[in-house]
């Protein structure tokens, strides 16, 4: 099986980067990529300084609005059933959703890169075993696995209110689960690139002068797949945000740290669609669509540039 599962783009070959300035110039000609970048910048700002923009996250205790009110004076996007300002919730939701997305991407890519480089470089039996495992994760419905894993891991680690990077343990579990279940396509891509780099002369030279495999992988292989990692990470991020949203929507979120998915779940359980309370779920919903959309545009543009087989195709 040769196709990769990334529904939109899956790079199979990369190439060494040209100069950074050249890259920026070429990227800036990619209008979709720029649009994606602009949208992302907007949400990144929301996520970075929510307190500055809308004040601290409102809770049942600190909320002052009327119950489930449509947009009115002072509440431009209405309120939820606890009287919290939807603007406040959506902006803080951006931070939570994007932080989880970012962390999950780091975990996913780290596992994928490790498996990919080791598998491609070491080869032989280890390669065969690692690739069998990779294929396994490519083929199984990983979302269902994530559904089962999340509550189990959560109960194993306990539900204490420890925070990591400002994210509660319950959500860190989601990060880990996304990482465990979605690294396989990254591993595939990195492995094939590693295979081709391995044959290059400079790797042979390093081997001849007696560099150990760990050193070669770290110093020679890794820098040469970094472009590919970046391009892939952007697409992984989009997937991670979607997965987190879906997991929260089926009830695995954390009401104390409402991500966009958690807000959508809350909206549904209050019955917002049936009550015509569009203001409750449209803002977080649009947030998700725009972020995933932007990452996909941005990621595809990067991929086009960093992937010789695709360059200039679109």
């Amino acid at each position: 099986m040769t196709a990769t599962p990334g529904p939109v783009a899956g790079a199979t070959r990369g190439r060494r980067s040209s100069g950074a300035g050249d890259f920026v110039r070429r990227f800036s000609r990619r209008r979709e990529g720029m649009v994606g970048l602009a949208i992302l910048t907007f949400f990144a700002i929301l996520a970075a300084i929510p307190e500055v923009l809308v004040g601290p996250l409102q809770t049942a205790v600190t909320s002052i609005g009327p119950r489930l009110s449509p947009p009115i004076d002072g509440f431009p996007l209405g309120t939820d059933e606890l009287g919290r300002d939807i603007v406040n919730l959506t902006v803080h939701g951006a931070r939570i959703s994007m932080t989880i997305g970012l962390l999950a991407t780091v975990v996913t890519v780290a596992i994928g890169v490790l498996v990919g480089i080791v598998s491609g470089f070491v080869g032989g039996r280890i390669d065969a075993v690692l690739m069998r495992i990779t294929d396994f994760f490519l083929v199984i419905p990983t979302f269902v696995l994530a559904l089962i894993l999340t509550p189990i891991i959560r109960d194993v680690v306990g539900s204490a209110t420890t925070e990591v990077f400002g994210i509660r343990m319950t959500l860190i579990v989601i990060v880990v689960v996304i990482g465990i279940t979605s690294w396989s396509s990254t591993a595939r891509i990195i492995r094939s690139q590693t295979l081709s780099i391995k044959e290059r002369a400079f790797v042979d030279r390093a081997r001849v002068v007696g560099a150990g495999p760990g050193y070669i992988m770290r110093v020679h292989i890794l820098p040469n797949v970094i472009n590919l990692i970046v391009a892939n990470a952007v697409l992984v991020f989009a997937g991670a945000v979607l997965t987190e949203t879906t997991l929260s929507f089926v009830g695995l979120g954390d009401p104390f740290q409402p991500s966009w998915g958690q807000l959508l779940e809350a909206a549904r359980s209050v019955g917002a669609p049936g009550l015509g309370a569009w203001w409750y779920f449209v803002p977080p919903g649009l947030g998700i669509i725009l972020v995933v959309f932007a990452f996909t545009l941005f990621g595809s543009a990067l991929d086009d540039l960093l992937n010789p087989r695709r360059g200039g195709r679109r």
């Binding site: 099986m1 040769t2 196709a3 599962p5 529904p7 939109v8 069998r132 294929d135 396994f136 490519l138 083929v139 199984i140 419905p141 990983t142 979302f143 269902v144 696995l145 559904l147 089962i148 894993l149 509550p151 189990i152 109960d155 194993v156 989009a238 979607l242 997965t243 949203t245 879906t246 929507f249 089926v250 009830g251 695995l252 959508l264 909206a267 549904r268 917002a272 669609p273 049936g274 009550l275 015509g276 569009w278 779920f281 919903g285 998700i288 669509i289 725009l290 995933v292 959309f293 996909t296 545009l297 195709r313 679109r314």
Partner: protein
């Protein structure tokens, strides 16, 4: 097609399924509390003696390896997935069996509609690359691809539940309705199908169109297409006889692989529309932490995806001899 290729693919599929069973086995033992406590949940006055009796019956007192493992694999392969915790006394297989048909109906139809629409749109976009349809279609496809299925569903609910009350917004059939004729039944089923089906199809169509489009573009730049052009074949003929069949191959494979991803959407769409299928069952089981049912769903869906991939591979092998290596 070489027999060894088929044998190898069958072998791989079998290994994958055994690996899934292994994961299930391990997960069952990782569960919070202990299996017997989870089985007895909600039952008051549980004495240690009763727990002991349960451990005995479920074989939990045997060594984990190899006795429990062997017993687990054997019983799973013979179709015994254990008992649902909350549908007291019912086997997981029974529970799954009654929920599978609504899902097959909804997602079978949804896939068909999405494939037909997506491939047509993608092929046309790719063929008329740079045209207005391409631009519009591609942007809409991307937006649809970026939208969680359930969000589409909630949008439909908002419109059809609070503004336009043309269509039923939940369930598969009108509750308790008695049908005078099979036609009435089908009409009722059809009316209930519209919104979930539209959600599923729209959710899928974006990615299929995108994949088909790039596949067509790739194919159109192949040498043999250029040769055909040079030979003076009409564009329509080139598309139908050369580009389309070749572009379909990777697309079909991708659809098979994507089944695993589609399932995530399946679960949420069913929940939004109260559709009585496997997705709703999954969330019910998740809410109640009915792990045997969750594992049953995982196994069932995994086997379905593995088989779909196997079939796609074999078909691919028939159509394109190069992969039989």
């Amino acid at each position: 097609m070489g027999g060894s290729f088929v044998a190898r693919r069958l072998g791989q599929a079998a290994i994958t399924i055994v690996a899934i069973i292994l994961i299930n086995f391990v997960l069952f033992r990782l569960m919070p509390g202990s299996p017997e406590r989870v089985i007895l949940r909600g039952t008051p006055n549980v004495t240690p003696e009763r727990i002991e009796a349960l451990r005995e019956r479920w074989g939990l007192n045997d060594p984990v390896f190899p006795d429990q493992l062997v017993a687990y694999i054997t019983s799973t392969l013979t179709g015994d997935l254990g008992y649902s915790f909350i549908a007291r006394g019912q086997t997981v297989v029974d529970v799954l069996a009654q929920r599978i048909w609504p899902t097959i109906l909804l997602f079978g139809l949804g896939e068909m509609v999405a494939i037909a629409l997506g491939l047509a749109l993608g092929a046309y976009s790719g063929w008329r690359r740079g045209g207005p349809i391409d631009y519009l279609g591609n942007s809409v496809s991307l937006i649809l691809y970026s939208t969680p299925y359930f969000l589409l569903g909630m949008g439909f609910l908002l419109v059809f539940a609070s503004s336009i009350k043309w269509l039923p917004t939940f369930g598969m059939l009108t509750a308790g309705r008695v049908y005078g004729s099979p036609f009435e039944f089908l009409a009722d089923l059809g009316a209930h199908l519209v919104l979930p089906l539209a959600t599923v199809s729209l959710g899928l169509v974006g990615q299929y169109a995108i994949v088909m489009r790039s596949s067509i573009i790739e194919t159109l730049s192949e040498d043999y297409v250029n040769t055909a052009r040079a030979m003076g074949l009409s564009e329509g003929r080139i598309l139908r006889h050369h580009a389309l069949p070749n572009a379909l191959l990777p697309t079909v494979t991708l659809i098979a692989i994507n089944l695993g991803y589609v399932i995530a959407g399946a679960i949420t769409v069913e929940v939004v529309f109260n559709w009585p299928g496997l997705g709703t069952l999954t969330v019910q089981a998740l809410t109640a932490r009915d792990y045997p049912v969750l594992q049953g769903v995982f196994l069932l869906l995994s086997v379905a995806v593995v088989l779909a991939n196997l079939v796609a591979d074999l078909v691919y092998g028939v159509l394109d001899p190069r992969v039989r290596t």
